[in-house]
């Protein structure tokens, strides 16, 4: 129901108005002067106010002004009752904030039409306000949802960081450092380096297809499957066989000395089922600490970069299939000698395929240049430099794809 | 930015290289406090390899100088390239440092 306040110092007028308005279905309030009208407006907030122009204390236009400057939340439709018909007066009334005029003496038919128009406006305004507040509520709910998803993702990102090798842990005879920059909060890239026994140091870098949550779920699983804690020895050292501690022990039986067998076992266990085309590329390697013999297998991953003491860089290996795509895929081991003072860089293609403003890729050459130039710099400096070069190339330090790089240096003084 | 130090008689020579800005200010301050803890209060800053310094780097130097002076020590600065020297003048901080052409000159000044 719409509430109408009638303000007039002449009682017979308010009586007539009151009678008709009630008959037409309005809830009617009455005030006999402007100040009383203003009190009622503030207290009862009527949607429509019908007010006389000329009143002893507070005139109609002044009442309009007060209502407009009060800034009430809902709209108050103001109609001035007036004997005036001069154009100038009408302008004055409009300037004061009146919405309509009814001339005195008024005709009942005209009054009805004018009030219908006012009521239509009031209803429209109500619907609009309601729609807006519903929209606000929905926005609020969306924002809350976004905030909670963001908090969850940030927590997930923190957990993912704990899966990466601890920079403060020193490995016998080796330094390492890394770059890890997820394109969203969490990455489909994962890597690790860890001793498996007193003579072997293993390392890997994996890039799961796609990025975001689906990729991160698989990369996290892979990190667990490949982590040193989840394997235990079945046979003696050399020729050792490691086995996953999870339920299906037979699923992942990995011969330690052959990274190719690791790739083979993973390819069997993580074959895409057709619907979920999720696969990953991997570099897996193992260094024999006694003579530096290093064996790596490359599963569809960019070739790692080996830097000989002195700074010269070369890539090692030549391709291979990604894991989880082709059931009958075979993987090869490639061996080289990790010299004292040499460095090995494993990276994901997010680095070389990082696109600049003009669409050009960062490229392998630019990467090799940075690595070559950083020869006598600590690994940290080389990585910082690389990240800066990538940001400059891209024109931004947020990236489309996950970036990761694992740098391993064999110290001079060992052996 | 890299910061290394070695002992030369009573002086500790702190050699800096690269860019000295807000990113390295904290590292510099921690090196100075480590030296003070080890009671190494006579310090020569070899800045010949510093190719850039901004006001954050200058601020770190002033902070370092204050910390060392409080312990009754001194900081001598050596090897400024012309561009870097300009900022010492621009900030008028050349007035509070002992500045020498070379590390050798700083050592020889006794």
């Amino acid at each position: 129901m719409i509430t109408v306040l009638c303000v007039d110092d002449q009682k017979h007028i308010t009586d007539v108005l009151s009678r008709y308005l009630t008959k037409w279905g309005y809830l009617v309030l009455v005030a006999s002067d402007g100040e009383t009208g203003w009190d009622i407006i503030q207290k009862n907030r009527p949607e429509i106010v019908l007010t006389d122009w000329l009143m002893p204390d507070l005139e109609g236009p002044d009442l309009c002004r007060r209502v407009r400057s009060a800034g009430f939340p809902g709209y108050t439709y103001m109609i001035l009752l007036t004997a005036k018909s001069d154009k100038e007066d009408l302008v004055l009334g409009m300037e004061a904030g009146a919405d309509d005029f009814i001339s005195k003496p008024f005709e009942i038919g005209e009054l009805k039409v004018r009030l219908n128009a006012a009521a239509r406006m009031v209803r429209l305004e109500r619907q609009l306000t309601q729609a807006n507040s519903e929209l606000d509520e929905k926005n609020l709910a969306l924002n809350e949802m976004y905030d909670s998803v963001k908090i969850d993702l940030e927590a997930a990102a923190q957990i993912q960081l704990t899966l990466l090798p601890d920079r403060n842990v020193s490995l016998p005879g080796f330094h390492f450092d890394w770059l890890f920059s997820p394109s969203t909060f969490i990455a489909g890239d994962i890597f690790n380096i860890f001793p498996v026994d007193s003579n072997h140091l293993n390392f890997y870098l994996i890039d799961v297809s796609g990025h975001g949550i689906p990729a991160a779920l698989l990369s996290t699983t892979l990190s667990r499957v490949l982590s040193p804690q989840s394997h235990f020895t079945i046979n003696g050292p050399l020729g050792q066989t490691y086995c996953d501690t999870c339920e299906n022990r037979q699923d992942l039986i990995v011969s330690l000395n052959s990274p190719a067998h690791v790739a083979l076992a993973l390819n069997k266990q993580f074959m895409s089922d057709g619907e979920q085309m999720q696969y990953f590329t991997m570099l897996y390697g193992s260094v024999d600490l006694r003579d530096g013999t290093t064996t790596i297998t490359q599963a569809g991953h960019p070739s790692p970069v080996y830097q000989a003491p002195g700074g010269e860089v070369r890539t090692i290996g030549g391709g291979g299939f990604p894991i989880g795509l082709i059931p009958e895929a075979d993987f090869e081991d490639v061996s080289f000698r990790f010299e004292a003072g040499g460095r090995l860089y494993l990276y994901s293609d997010g680095i070389t395929e990082c696109r600049g403003a003009t669409g050009t890729m960062f490229g392998e050459k630019a990467l090799l240049d940075v690595l070559r130039a950083g020869w006598n710099q600590p690994l940290r400096e080389v990585i910082d430099r690389l990240r800066s070069e990538l940001a400059v190339h891209r024109g931004s330090d947020s990236f489309d794809d996950d970036l990761s790089l694992l740098a391993i240096e064999r110290m001079e003084d060992r052996i | 930015m890299s910061i290394t130090h070695n002992q030369e008689g009573v002086f500790t020579i702190v050699s800096m290289a690269g860019r000295f800005d807000a990113l390295c200010a904290r590292e510099f301050k921690s090196v100075i406090s480590l030296l003070l803890e080890a009671d190494k209060k006579r310090i020569i800053l070899d800045m010949a390899q510093v190719n850039f310094i901004d006001s954050s780097g200058m601020g770190a130097l002033v902070g370092g100088l204050r910390g060392v002076a409080k312990e009754g020590g001194e900081i001598r600065i050596a090897g400024l390239i012309p561009e870097v020297h300009t900022i010492f003048e621009l900030t008028r901080l050349h007035r509070i440092f002992d500045i020498y052409e070379t590390t050798a000159a700083a050592l020889a000044a006794g």
Partner: protein
């Protein structure tokens, strides 16, 4: 007129990328035989402006460094999402007391030919202009 920009996270780490970017662009602007000190002074003003912007922003916010230039001028802009600031409210450095901070804007104003700061809703832009030919303002 040529232009280049880089968008950086408001973290001190970004000074590294900002400096590399600035060096690269200065090389492009000044070519093989730059006038003495000019490149250094531009790099210094940029470093001061970036450090100020980064210090006054949350780390989740972005700072955008932009260069545009022709043969006569280089115009450098630093946009940040930090709070409102008016150049006239920034005090001169306390030279007498050999202050540890507060030199940034003074250095920028000394080295650049024109410096303006505009505030917008949600951020501000520092614009620094430097003439590349004859008549550099003496420092």
């Amino acid at each position: 007129m040529k232009a280049r920009t880089i968008e950086l996270s408001a973290m001190l780490d970004s000074l590294r990328s900002g400096a590399l970017f600035t060096d690269e662009v200065i090389g492009e602007i000044l070519g093989d035989s730059p006038p003495p000190h000019l490149g250094y002074n531009i790099a210094l003003a940029v470093s001061e402006a970036l450090t100020n912007a980064i210090r006054h922003c949350k780390s989740s916010e972005k700072v955008i460094l932009g260069f545009s230039w022709d043969s006569e001028h280089v115009v450098i802009t630093v946009d940040d999402q930090g709070c409102e600031l008016h150049l006239e409210d920034v005090p001169e450095p306390d030279f007498e007391d050999a202050a540890e901070c507060g030199y940034g804007l003074y250095i920028i104003r000394t080295l650049m030919d024109d410096v303006t700061l505009e505030n917008f809703t949600g951020g501000k832009r520092l614009t620094m202009t430097k003439r590349l030919i004859e008549g550099n303002k003496p420092s």
